[in-house]
């Protein structure tokens, strides 16, 4: 059991990142921090794919003759997913800017009170 964790410590790190990201997403009242949490959550998933691509003793997948290489497919996947993630963060921040310029707050609780008053 301990050996399994010693060899696969990156999976534990990934699980921790996903959990931290989700926790911030749910628990934080601040809209910008929520988006930071979302990004950490997604980064955890990306690292999960990268970790899965690792081959013990393999080199980076620039194919040059026979030999062991890390799997290139998850890396391509992550590259695409990162682009999607960046676009999402940009849209989210744009929306937050609009909300802030209208209500003057980033706090979810205050926002709810302000909206209830109107």
């Amino acid at each position: 059991m301990i050996e399994a964790y010693a060899n696969r410590y990156t999976y534990v790190l990934v699980a921790a990142l996903v959990a931290i990201g989700l926790y911030i997403l749910i628990a934080s009242q601040n809209l910008v921090k929520k988006i930071i949490g979302l990004s950490i959550f997604q980064t955890g998933i990306f690292l999960f794919f990268i970790t899965a691509a690792f081959v013990e003793g393999g080199s980076s997948p620039v194919i040059d003759g026979e030999g062991l290489y890390a799997s290139p497919l998850p890396q391509v996947i992550v590259l695409t997913a990162i682009v999607v993630g960046v676009a999402l963060t940009a849209v989210a921040l744009a929306l937050i800017v609009r909300i802030y310029s209208e209500y003057g707050t980033l706090d979810e609780e205050t926002l709810r009170e302000v909206r209830a008053d109107e």
Binding site: L38, P74, A81, V91, A92
Partner: protein
């Protein structure tokens, strides 16, 4: 067999969005015309596609990237099998129906938005991007590619929702973004798990690997923890995107705060495309063989779907604002669709049950899109024509807007499931499927759903037809009588949807028979739909 038509259907709207932005630099009002031209060509292409699929009986396949990619021989540990390298687009009897639906609704909503707005070239550009994304979701045959297209649809939807006048729409859009992205990411985790176990992303290859077909696997992988967890993550992710209770929280806000034209579009297609994706993955990738081993897993989704039907309807009946009534009603209807998807692959389902559940899924998916887009279009017409957005304000509007109110009544009754409408046919098939599978609890929920949807539809009709408008519209009714904000295009969409809902009801059996190759493939646990 490679058919570049499939690629063209996805690329055309995406390129068109750039053209409509560019044309906007030259002439200010060019956006609508560009979008209309692109979508008209798109409709013609999808008609051609549907003809090849349903009349020609083809299964169209296109692999992106040319010669380097395609079906290749793979050898692992001395065993050899064929795997697809690269991204595959698939046009079969299941995706053809969705593609035609998307093209038709996109054209209809464009007619609606001509007058209702939001206008501006950026709106039409994003609108076209969303159409392209939806086509991608419908046609892709690759699990990861599906994630990318889901996120393209998501991004476009977030942008469209936030085009509402007030800042409220930005708040709703942000909520949608956070929940929607989390859902899509959870789907991605599921795909990652399945990928680790099978080493494939192509839906057909994953399905074959799960069945243990490649020689390097030691029998089927159905009971592997990674695969079981993978299905769980995929189901939760797509249920979030389809707004199944209790993952629906983004949906009522997004639907009610978005501009009317946008609500019509996303209510008809956004959740529909994710529900379709769930059907495809459940039926074609995991197949009934998987659920024969993991019965509990399927039943968990089935329970969630049934709860969604009941709670969604109850919440809908409690709303005061008409758009929120319809939004919560979608939660219930998608619960019904998810239930049908699960019945089709349930271990207790024989061939007949699978057949009717597949029919029911497809007919109700199409029917719900037509009905709900028509209802939101009618609600939007009454909002801009009469300023009525709450249930109370609908009092007596039938006498002033007979056509809009009439189409709303027809569509509402169709949603309840009054024959001869498409809503009836869909619910009937799902019900017959459940009866054949002898899932009596589900049968009870399906028939209860009819009564429950009558709850909120009756409220609406009572206000429209049987309440006097004296108290609620004292003097302004005379002023508002002109109703200049209401165009023929806007009222026309509601009326067209009502006519479609009834005529599709008569054509329900023909519509369902298009799905024959699909249910046969599901019944045999085949990885692909062969015509």
């Amino acid at each position: 067999m490679s058919d570049s038509l499939l690629g063209l259907v996805i690329v055309l709207p995406l390129l068109g969005s750039a053209v409509s932005l560019g044309a906007g630099l030259i002439r200010n009002h060019a956006g609508w015309w560009v979008a209309a031209a692109i979508l008209a060509v798109e409709a013609a292409l999808t008609a051609r596609l549907a003809y090849a699929i349903y009349v020609g009986g083809d299964r169209l396949v296109h692999i992106l990237g040319g010669e380097t990619f395609g079906r290749k021989e793979i050898t692992v540990d001395g065993g050899t099998t064929n795997f697809t390298v690269g991204i595959e687009l698939v046009g079969d009897a299941l995706s053809g129906l969705v593609v035609v639906l998307i093209a038709a609704v996109a054209l209809g909503v464009l007619a609606y938005s001509r007058h209702a707005g939001p206008r501006g070239n950026i709106f039409y550009a994003v609108y076209l991007i969303m159409t392209g994304g939806l086509m991608g979701v419908a046609l892709t045959g690759d699990l990861f590619n599906l994630f990318v297209f889901l996120e393209i649809v998501g991004l476009a939807t977030y942008a469209l929702v936030s085009t509402g006048r007030g800042v409220e729409s930005a708040v709703a859009s942000l909520k949608y973004l956070v929940v929607g992205t989390t859902g899509a990411s959870i789907y991605l985790i599921g795909v990652g798990y399945v990928f680790l176990e099978t080493g494939a992303l192509n839906m057909v290859d994953v399905s074959r690997s799960l069945a243990g077909e490649p020689p390097w696997f030691d029998g089927a992988l159905y009971s592997e923890p990674l695969v079981v967890a993978g299905f769980g993550f995929i189901a939760v992710g797509l249920a979030t995107k389809s707004a199944i209770f209790p993952l629906h929280t983004w949906q009522p806000d997004a639907y009610s705060e978005a501009p009317d034209a946008v609500t019509v579009y996303i209510s008809a297609l956004a959740s529909t495309s994710s529900a379709y994706a769930f059907a495809r993955i459940t039926w074609m990738v995991f197949t009934p063989d998987f659920f024969a081993v993991n019965r509990r897993l399927l039943e968990a989704v089935l329970v969630l779907a049934c709860v969604s039907v009941v709670v969604g309807s109850a919440l809908a009946a409690m709303q005061r604002r008409v758009k929120r009534v319809f939004a919560y009603s979608s939660v219930a209807q998608f619960g019904l669709i998810f239930a049908a998807i699960c019945i089709a692959v349930h271990p207790a389902a024989g061939e007949r049950a699978t057949q009717f559940a597949v029919y029911g899924t497809a007919v109700h998916l199409v029917g719900h899109a037509v009905i709900k887009s028509g209802l939101f279009a009618a609600a939007g017409s009454l909002a801009s024509g009469e300023g009525a957005r709450k249930l109370e304000e609908y009092a007596g509007l039938a006498s002033r807007r007979p056509f809009v109110a009439g189409s709303m009544a027809v569509l509402g009754l169709s949603l309840v499931g009054v024959p001869p409408s498409v809503g009836f046919v869909g619910k009937w098939y799902i019900g017959v499927g459940a009866v054949n599978a002898e899932l009596w609890a589900v049968v009870a929920v399906i028939f209860a759903s009819t009564v429950l949807s009558l709850l909120y539809t009756a409220q609406l009709l009572e206000k429209l037809y049987f309440s006097s408008d004296i108290e609620t519209h004292p003097m302004e009714s005379v002023v508002a009588d002109g109703g200049e904000a209401l165009s023929y295009g806007m009222a026309g969409v509601g009326v067209t949807a009502a006519i479609l809902a009834v005529s599709l009801g008569f054509l329900g059996a023909d519509l369902a028979s298009l799905l024959d190759p699909v249910w046969q493939a599901v019944a045999e646990s085949a990885p692909e739909v062969t015509a």
